[in-house]
Symmetry: D3
Subunit: 267 residues, 6 copies
């Protein structure tokens, strides 16, 4: 078996770490051993673990967990990029959240991570002509995890949505790779007209807790939006914007999404 473990480690290090973490946790807490086997150790790849764990959370009287699990696996089989994005997201959370001490924790417990991965399935359904099902998933994600992400939104990889409760991401939003969002962030529209009406968040940006970014505006690369701020206009790269309504208060660190520093130098 050690050979197998080595082989997994070389070609899928995230899954290898998760399995190692699960074995350690199983040894430590017998009441979770069964859960850890069922979620992680019983499966041969991360995608199966995600399907198993999240389909159970989304399942309910309208659509049961098993059927949802099959939909998850259909998406994973059809588009391997989803699996890559999930791995990048796990690494992002592990790197950026000091309270996260293993690669297993996002998979098992982090609601923002859970909501984001379920969105990735809904997104795939939306662009494969199954919009009713995509909307169904959007509703369940909102009920179960408290995040309302429209399935048509386009979200990159290496994303961290910390805590997650209250996050709203609108239909024409674009989020590039390596972005971090915190709880209660809104990426919203500005009016009842349809069309492209939601923010474009560039690589490396950090949107702090409770911030509202509204309209088809651009949050530049590695920009930072301060907590509880309201942004209604473009924010240039590497700038920090703060206030209601938000004003540019200075530059920010090299890589705010990674630093996760919600403090506001100069305020």
């Amino acid at each position: 078996m050690s050979q197998t473990v080595e082989k997994i480690a070389s070609c899928d290090p995230v899954w290898s770490y998760i399995r190692r973490d699960a074995l350690e946790m199983a040894a430590k807490e017998p009441l979770l051993t069964g859960v850890l086997h069922a979620v992680a150790l019983n499966h041969d790849r991360l995608e199966k673990a995600i399907s198993y764990h999240l389909a159970q959370k989304l399942g309910g009287p309208l659509m049961n967990a098993m059927l949802l699990g099959e939909i998850f696996e259909e998406a994973f089989d059809a588009d391997p990029d989803i699996g890559s994005a999930i791995r990048a997201d796990i690494v992002a959370v592990y790197d950026r959240d000091p309270a996260c001490t293993s690669h297993l924790e996002p998979l098992l417990y982090f609601k923002g991570f859970h909501g984001l991965q379920c969105y990735r399935i809904a997104h795939w359904l939306w662009y494969h002509d199954r919009r009713p099902l995509a909307l169904f998933l959007q509703n369940r994600i909102s009920e179960v995890f408290g995040l309302d992400i429209h399935p048509a939104a386009r979200i990159g990889r290496g994303i961290m949505i910390d805590h997650g409760t209250g996050v709203v991401i609108g239909e024409t939003t674009v989020i590039e790779d390596e972005v971090s969002l915190l709880q209660n962030v809104t990426l919203g529209g500005t009016g009842k007209e349809s069309g492209d009406r939601h923010p474009k968040v560039r690589r490396g940006a950090l949107i702090c807790a409770g911030a509202k970014v509204l309209g088809n505006i651009e949050i530049g690369e590695c920009a930072k939006v301060g907590a509880a701020s309201v942004v209604l206009a473009d924010v240039p790269s590497r700038c920090t914007v703060v206030g209601v309504p938000g004003k540019i208060v200075g530059e920010c660190c090299e890589n705010p999404a990674r630093e996760m520093d919600q403090s506001l130098p100069g305020c």
Copy 2:
């Protein structure tokens, strides 16, 4: 059957649209066909569909879905105005939310709409001498949908609560017809004294995402409260207030609740 459909259409257009939408969706997505029949097509009026769908969401180990469904129907039978308000709310969501493309979607999927309709039942119970049950519903609405609306609050018709998560509406709040609220809005009190201590929101007002309106103050007709703003004093009709604490920054459009424009001209 076409005659029946015509008859429904003439006397209850909202229900007629919902059934048409449900038939279309059922034809498109077989995995939802059963759900659509059970929720919408199997029922002869909208109230039954609401009872069926929302009682299932609120049901749990303390009170099962069937009993809750009977309470819903008791309220609908006793007070036909609830049904009228629901229809006005569906039209409001359909008109104002560009991501909503059918009259069916609010009924099936929109958490803010779900929470509001469950509140309407709790409100009826509160004023018909069944306060313990009203408080029970308030708790379940908060657990399941993430909205905390006191059953004693008075809320008009044609209301849109977009996304819904984190909304708090206090005991002596009054919301007139045609108002729109977004996620994380608080209509709260200012102290531990009882009595009339919550906002009065007049017809046509728009309260943007994350705004806190606190105390027995008046948000005038067609006024707008900017996102993440805090309002502690009366806002005159057709004015826009922004900031923490909020200041009047100008007039607003003819009908902000309908326009749903969270942008802040002049900011």
Copy 3:
């Protein structure tokens, strides 16, 4: 039986009030009689009622309610201070929330109270070498109640978390006795470095709805943080801070956590 009632009343007045309230409510609403007996009247002490009621809310496919109930009781038996803190919290809610008209309501219905008590169990597990289980509870609290409280945080007694949805309390936070928090409050960190990085909230402070308090800063005794404000620096005792970013705008009343007055004199 009246002797028993008197005896309970003298040594555990909170539990005595709850039982009296439950009898009254049971007489008024037959559909809740079974619930009230099962939650309150069937038990001989408050801790059992809490275990029964909250374990059922947290139970799910990964860990069932009965097992969770046993974990709750293990913690209650090992550390009687948890029960004292719960009683102080119930009194705090009853005293401070004008919409709360009995000692029974927090136990039965208040999500902020529920999340806080479940955190108390997770906290006990965290400091008794059962961190995996503590993290499991944190996840369930976040899913079910919408509060994300790290089990390592240290929280005193006589705490009121009103409404609760969206509250986030980080790993190294300290909250002293007699503090009040409202919905959507964040007590968060400022960066990806581990170590002591979260706020210290002193006795009697009030953190209003949607406020974000970020970093290892001190909110002084009986200080007040205004709604939707962002605080990034120490706030002296008895001061009120408002705005994004927050500024000191004046003193505040004798005991803001008790007064629950979110208004901002001088704004």
Copy 4:
């Protein structure tokens, strides 16, 4: 209210007894008060109580209780004879089962009674062009109550199926009024040919525990089939048949279905 009670008593004595029994039991056992209100006291007629109680038992992941309840009510509304048969069955059980001390017990607890009433709904569906749904109910009755009654079978009123587990009643069976069956009774076919191939059981007959009656044969009026006996040929009225294969051993009492006497005089 006493007038209403008198009115119910005069026009629907069975329902009146059940409500009286439920009030008595509710006063005696607080843990069942909620159940008794939800099942019996909260409803204005017996049919609603049956729908509520049995639909919850039959509900599951393939079809939820609320939808089943609506199907039950549709049948009750369309065919008032079902309600009459239910009342006659309750009286039959109360009269014949010495362990049954109230009219409430069959409604609440008796599995044979439950399976029989669910069959009555399946039977109505079968003859109203909804055979797939009828077969679905047959399956659920078999899973939940352990009785396998084909929905096409024709069963009269005043029927008692005692205990119920293991009872099998085939497709072309006819059971007239006032018949009693015990656990593990089979009214089965004799071969793979379709057509009329199951027993005809005449009024007043008693089929004792474990008896197998096979083929298109007639069990005459007020005949008795002994326990664990096998009957392959017609049994004349008022005769007792015993053995494997069964032989006529004598006459039987006036009304064996009512006497429920499984003893075999002369054996």
Copy 5:
């Protein structure tokens, strides 16, 4: 810990064996590790394990598992003889059933054992003035396990009910210690008159599969009733009775309940 284990072993060998078996099984099958900890290893005595495991099986929408668990524990605390009887039953099953290879299996898996232990709780309720609850349990035992045992029946210890499905035991039945029953056995009445009307089964008797013993008759010590036989008259000690109706065909072995030999020497 080994000291504790030794102490348990000396004073409660059955519980000690069960825990040892559970540890062995947990090591062998990781998917059951969580179950085994939750059912057996997490508890400090057998009664808690029984409460936990069986209350979960009986729980449902009318009464949840936690409340049932509390009722179980109330009975166990009040009457230690129930716990002794359970231990004797486990030993009986382990000794008599060659397919049972550990003391853990009856606790975990054997439906006849499960139904019997739940009856013991119902029986305690019946004789402690809580008849409605006792009847509720009788119904759930019948639904979940397929055994219908009246709570008023008196059943000794060291009882094995093998397989269990279809067993019916009437209200005034007495079963002494060390008796074995198999599936589909009826200990039934003979008529609609109340009073003492069910069998008395003496110590050491064996009632084989499908046998019907009817009326207030005596099955003597160490007597055997053959499979599918019908007994309507007293059977002397150590006799074997066979047939429909049953006839004495000879003596039987020393201890038929222990030998579990359903064969019929001389037939």
Copy 6:
């Protein structure tokens, strides 16, 4: 798509019939459309449909449906013979049961069929060194379907277990191909000694309702055991045995398992 259908039809006619039947039923009963898609139409092979449908029935608080579904699929992937046996069983039921009018019905609804297929998984686990899990399945099959089949028993293909309730099949039983059993049949042991102690039922035999076949005896090819009979000695091929205890009463038809004729010529 018609090509695909043709291709399925040629290589897997049973699955092809089931899908055709499901389409027809879905068109006829909208309330079952979702179920039919989820169970049958959404899957690409019969094994997946079985896993989905039966794992949901067996799932519960100790082991959820999704995990059981994965175990089912593991067995199906490892041993294609299980799938062949299932197809033969479906054909057997369709051919022999006149109340069965489609190949879909056994899959959807027939409890004896369901229990048998779940046993096939338990059997595979038993002989692949996962006995604890095999015993777990045995228990769930007994609770959910009322059949108690030891996982070590060896059962051929083309088996029909009609109705199923109360069937018991012991550990060392062998059942060859093309056998039919009815409800309440016991294939049991004769004593507490371990070793080979259960019946061997040869090809084409029919065991009628309630029959008890006990001990390591042989039921010859195409033999028939009459209803409610007890067999304690070998039965030669093509013979019919009847009575308690059973006696040979004559020959039987060419193929009793197929004819399903429970009548007893000459009795």
